[in-house]
Symmetry: none
Subunit: 140 residues, 4 copies
Amino acid sequence: MYLRQTQELTHAAALIVLQGAIAKAEVMNVPQCIAVVDTGGNLLAFIRMDGAKVLSQISATQKAVTAASSRVPTGGVSAEVETKLALVTDGKLTNLKGGIPITIGGQIVGAIGVGSGTGEQDVEVGMAGIEALKQAIAGQ
Amino acid sequence: MYLRQTQELTHAAALIVLQGAIAKAEVMNVPQCIAVVDTGGNLLAFIRMDGAKVLSQISATQKAVTAASSRVPTGGVSAEVETKLALVTDGKLTNLKGGIPITIGGQIVGAIGVGSGTGEQDVEVGMAGIEALKQAIAGQ
Amino acid sequence: MYLRQTQELTHAAALIVLQGAIAKAEVMNVPQCIAVVDTGGNLLAFIRMDGAKVLSQISATQKAVTAASSRVPTGGVSAEVETKLALVTDGKLTNLKGGIPITIGGQIVGAIGVGSGTGEQDVEVGMAGIEALKQAIAGQ
Amino acid sequence: MYLRQTQELTHAAALIVLQGAIAKAEVMNVPQCIAVVDTGGNLLAFIRMDGAKVLSQISATQKAVTAASSRVPTGGVSAEVETKLALVTDGKLTNLKGGIPITIGGQIVGAIGVGSGTGEQDVEVGMAGIEALKQAIAGQ
């Protein structure tokens, strides 16, 4: 009633997510900015790949923050409210594609945000980062 | 001529508004961020319910601030000016639904802002918070 | 190795902390701003008591954020670095007394921050809020 | 006359710096926030280790930015001007210890910033990150 059990990624897990995402982005030949945040939206890990857009640091991070906050992938907010939500949060909430909650054992433990490619490329790289973590956990 | 009488919510009243809103949100099974502000838009009370979006702290608060400022529920500004108003106030004025002035005895004494659900859910929870206060006053 | 188990306060717990702190502040006749944050420093609950300083909303909140981040009570940073830390964090990290981690069963589950009195009064009210939660948990 | 040759860390190099710093921090049992920036002060890589202070994300990053900008380790600015410099840059320039330029072959190629320990611990972890990169380059 007074406490709820939660789980957070370790920094070892966050690095595995980064590396899985980097490997995918290299195969695709699309350099990316990749951010991993905890369930509260605080930054855990970040990498800007060679050739990725410098300003995508911000968008990648805020995609991760938005996915951690809303607990669903970014990009699904209706056109009617997406600009209002971006304005009221001073850009912290973004509806750009590429933010995905990281779910382990049915529980959200953080989120990844990817930016510098197209929305579809960003999502593909983010999914690869999450998949790398799932495989590492399965292989323990 | 030189002084005008005003009324403000006490912190006891603000807690009753929060609790009424929480009770409604629990019945609806929609966790919410709920903010209560005074007539000047300064924060009086806030709660983030278990599972509510972290970023909704900001939107809930600014809905309350906007309702206190404009003295009408949020959401009624014309599409033509809503973005201009959000931009010039650096996001402080929002036209998202869920901000409602608290009126007692025909006088506005503060405002409630609710965020994390749909606009309609947010309004329903905000109305329940105000109703709880009205009942407490009637029951005195 | 990849996940760490954590605990967070529920909103019911956060309200008990607020109420315990308010009760103490009323006995002391010192109106306070009281903030409760989660382990990541995100706001969970807040109250500004009748007569508390409006600007203490900010200091109370940042005391709680600082205590959640550093995992020790605020006020212990050396004079040599306290201003540097405040400046680099744009005021987010404060060395004012009145921020205290909330520890349950040996684990930090959030923090309380109190402001509007003297540093000693703020600490006393914060401790009372935590004590109220411990008693509620013990009485379950 | 019109172009100058520069060198920047790759993301592979930035990850090696992070990992070298993490390894040292683990041996010291002092969890750290670690940031790596390019010569322009833009973030290349970041990690927040388990148990490191959340707010140290900001200080670690700005230490790296400051070291990249000034091209010397942080902490050496005179007491007379350090507050003025922090104020005019809105906290971006910090004189906290723990920011170190990364020099390869006599040329600065970026900087590391470390925060969450004491200033001395932060410097020690930062040096270990740089050393790991030098060894990787020597071993090629």
